[in-house]
């Protein structure tokens, strides 16, 4: 099956069928996804798995209602059944709007150029990278007791057609390398994690990059063996570049997604134009960074991705919309309508979300901090968008004493409130970096980038065991 050449007549007929008994927007989403994954653990490539999943989804919007049906069968029978299922669920009983004829297929292959398609590289060669990563991690120290090294590539081809006449094809390749390393000394066990990935091909990786990535993960784990239990209480917190951006993603970004706004389930609802952060803070969601892990040429509703200014010098300037929420709010979609696969309803999601860099040297920020906590790498966290309260685990953290990074600290969590910490940002460096992650929401995982430069939060609660 070549989704780009899928029968446009059948797509049009499916859209018409979906709107037969009412509704005001209908869409067909066709997906063909090929994946390959290799996982090494215990010095052995124990899993090599790959496959192909195809499917089609029909979505019908009627006012604020969404009707969705999908099937693994991408043929006339599957599409007809899905269209019938959504049509049967509409109660309007009046035929929907005239369906605009589908235009020519639109695509934008130049946006994320793939120089080396992963499909052209042998699985055996990919396996060599994984083995090299394992060897490099174990070479860091005798205290490295375990390494899990993974490689994955995906090619997802989608075709999106809707009753507005849009017909969009997007061919997405993503490649990623992950290393997780465990170090042990006596009873103390610590882990370190590092990744490389992008909406790009195999050009992202070579044996040297694989080794360096695994070594960084191993060093994180080894350093933490010397750690002491973290103290508890309020103190200045310096968040490192790269992984530190996870905090902005979780604590603030989710509250900017328009579904949370529409339900009043966000601290940012009704605050457009208001001060929500310190004046030095500007922030973006940028789905169009070339070859970024969170990047696609189009979102999963066929809307081109873009760079959206969400906070400008401390004031709230934008929300992240999918088509449904944009329509409700009378706003333009921002290319943030994303779905994990054809099995998932598109919802507003972040792409690559970040606080814009400042111009300080990161060392100046540390030097200006008499006593505080330096969070080099976060383990992930959870947030309640309604209240903005969040908790983050710190994977790699240090004490700051007299303007210097000193003892590694373990078992720390950062606890706070989204608006509160943005207001308390008082220094931002210029060492901007983006890391790759998978963000979960409503049971859907999508690739996202999180980033920032090193920055300081004047006061934040650290929860530790010391």
């Amino acid at each position: 099956m070549d989704v780009a050449k899928f029968d446009a007549g059948l797509l049009h007929a499916t859209i018409v069928r979906a709107l037969r008994r009412g509704g005001d927007f209908a869409e067909v989403f066709i997906e063909d996804r090929e994946t390959l994954g290799l996982r090494l653990e215990d010095g052995r490539i124990e899993q090599t798995s790959g496959g192909r999943e195809t499917g089609a989804a029909v979505r019908l919007l009627s006012g604020e209602h969404t009707y969705y049906a999908y099937s693994d069968a991408v043929d006339e029978a599957g599409l007809t059944a899905a269209a019938e299922a959504v049509a049967a669920a509409v109660s309007a009983g009046v035929e929907g709007p005239r369906v605009v004829d589908l235009g020519a297929v639109v695509s934008d292959p130049g946006k994320n150029p793939v120089r080396v398609p992963p499909g052209e590289i042998s699985t055996a060669h990919k396996a060599e990278l994984v083995r090299a990563g394992d060897e490099a991690a174990r070479g860091v120290s005798d205290e490295i007791v375990q390494a899990t090294v993974g490689y994955g590539d995906t090619r997802q081809r989608v075709l999106i057609a809707n009753s507005l006449g849009d017909l969009v094809h997007d061919d997405r390749t993503r490649t990623r390398f992950v290393a997780q390393v465990v170090a042990k000394r006596g009873d103390v066990i610590q882990t370190g994690h590092e990744t490389v990935g992008g909406s790009a091909g195999f050009e992202l990786l070579d044996e040297d990059i694989a080794r360096r990535t695994a070594v960084r993960a191993a060093e994180k784990a080894r350093v933490m063996l010397d750690s002491k239990p973290a103290p508890s209480g309020p103190m200045p917190v310096v968040l490192a570049n790269g992984f530190g951006g996870t905090l902005f993603h979780e604590a603030c970004g989710h509250g900017l997604e328009a579904d949370a706004i529409a339900k009043g389930a966000s601290i940012y609802a009704g605050k457009m134009g208001e001060v929500v952060a310190a004046a030095m803070v500007s922030a973006y969601d940028e789905g169009s960074i070339a070859n970024g892990w969170g990047t696609q040429a189009f979102d999963d509703e066929g809307v081109p991705t873009q760079k959206t200014l969400v906070i400008e010098e401390g004031r709230l300037t934008g929300y992240l919309y999918d088509r449904l929420r944009a329509r409700e709010a009378g706003a333009a979609p921002t290319g943030n309508g994303r779905r994990q696969s054809f099995r998932h309803v598109p919802i507003p999601r972040m792409t690559t979300t970040y606080i814009a860099p400042g111009d300080l040297d990161p060392d100046e920020i540390i030097a200006a901090t008499a006593r505080g906590f330096y969070a080099k790498s976060l383990a992930g966290g959870q947030v309640e968008p309604a209240s903005g309260n969040f908790v983050f685990g710190v994977a790699e953290g240090y004490l700051i004493e007299d303007g210097r990074i000193t003892t590694p600290l373990r078992g720390a969590t950062l606890v706070g409130n989204g608006i509160d910490i943005l207001m308390k940002i008082d220094m931002i460096a210029g060492d901007f970096d983006v890391k790759t992650g998978i963000c979960g929401k409503d049971g859907q995982g999508v690739p996202v980038g999180t980033g920032q430069a090193t920055l300081r939060i004047a006061e934040m609660t650290v929860g530790g065991t010391g």
């Binding site: 192909r52 693994d72 508890s232 209240s387 609660t461």
Partner: protein
Amino acid sequence: MFEILDAVLERAKALGAADVEVFGERSTSHRIKVYRQEVEQLTAAQRRGVGVRVFRDGAVGHAYTSDLTDGALDDLVRHALANAAVSDPDEFMALPQPQGEPAAVDPYDPRLASATDEDRIAVALEAEATALAADPRVKTVEDAMYVDGDGEVFIASTAGVRGSFRAGQCYAFAYVLAEEEDQVETGYSYAVGRAVEDLDATFVGAEAAERATRLLGAQKCPSMKAPVILDPFVSAAFFGVLSSALTADAVQKNRSLFAGREGERVAGELLELVDDGTLPDGLDSAPFDGEGVPCGRTPLITGGVLQGFLYDTYTARKAGRTSTGNGMRGGYSSLPGVRPSNLVVAGPVTPLDDIIAGMERGVLVTDAVGIHSGANPISGEFSVGISGVLIENGKLTTPVREVTLAGDIVGMLTSIRALGDDARWVPGGSVYTPSVVIDGMAIGGT
């Protein structure tokens, strides 16, 4: 579906593979969300596909497809063989052999398939309406949902494993926002069952509202070392994280804090922890696991003493024993991995009211954020953010939030001194647990 499985086995044999296992899946599911007494989202789904594992000299290759045409099945077998050529051999990796009769449990109730969309929508509507009516401070029910899944799985192998079963479950869920004087608090509740008629949506709405409103006015409390009561939702989340350290996979890969501690005291003397895939009302009960091995009952902790671990075929062979039937699959596209089926936390119980009445100072923990990120199942250290209600002189007094609870898992298990009389099923890992009372926890507040 068996015709397709057999066709895959035939193709694999023709290409020279001797040890082959095929897993097939065919399912339907529904998901309904209502908002302000109208259907916000209705999803109807059909899913089907097959996955194949090829074993060759101790190396395993896996491939899957949702395309069941002849050409796609050819590709499937070829990919699995190619993947087996890349994996490293391991003397313990081998095709699972038939291991006795399937467990006598039927995880399906035909009433599930006879429900209509109207029946399903009614559940979500009732949960939302009850929550909104419960208290004027409930401003929004962010999620009021009905979800179900009705699926058949099939397995066949060249070793003679052959079986299928149908399983169904459904649940109602409500996530409520309560608001007072600019403070927003949240609460949720579930009901689970095998048929729509089993779900008590009124209970779900009322409980979610109660859990949100009782946190209104919450503030930080002083830091202290005090006993805590983890309610069933919080307890289930903790035991869910803990359970990954009780798999043979974690033990054999040096990732478990319980490695080498069989026979030792690792928990309070009253604690029983059992994995049981054969319970009639267990959400994850099944006649056999993702490798065709019968599901069973495996004691993990008895009288506070560690009894053993969970095994799939590979980890069992490596340990020189038999699989406990815990080779679980997420679906046709996933490989089996060692995971719990239903986890049951048991032991002598005390009425919850008596536990609270006997506590001079402590915290009833009703929500914990960051258990999955703030708990390290390898080292056992954890630090999570909690909300709940302060207990003073035997009474529930003021709500608390934005405080942390920190410690290490074994220390916490050892300090379990009582279990409540309020055991229930909590989905999202399928745990059956009462409230759990733990002494001397570090609470970080002001």
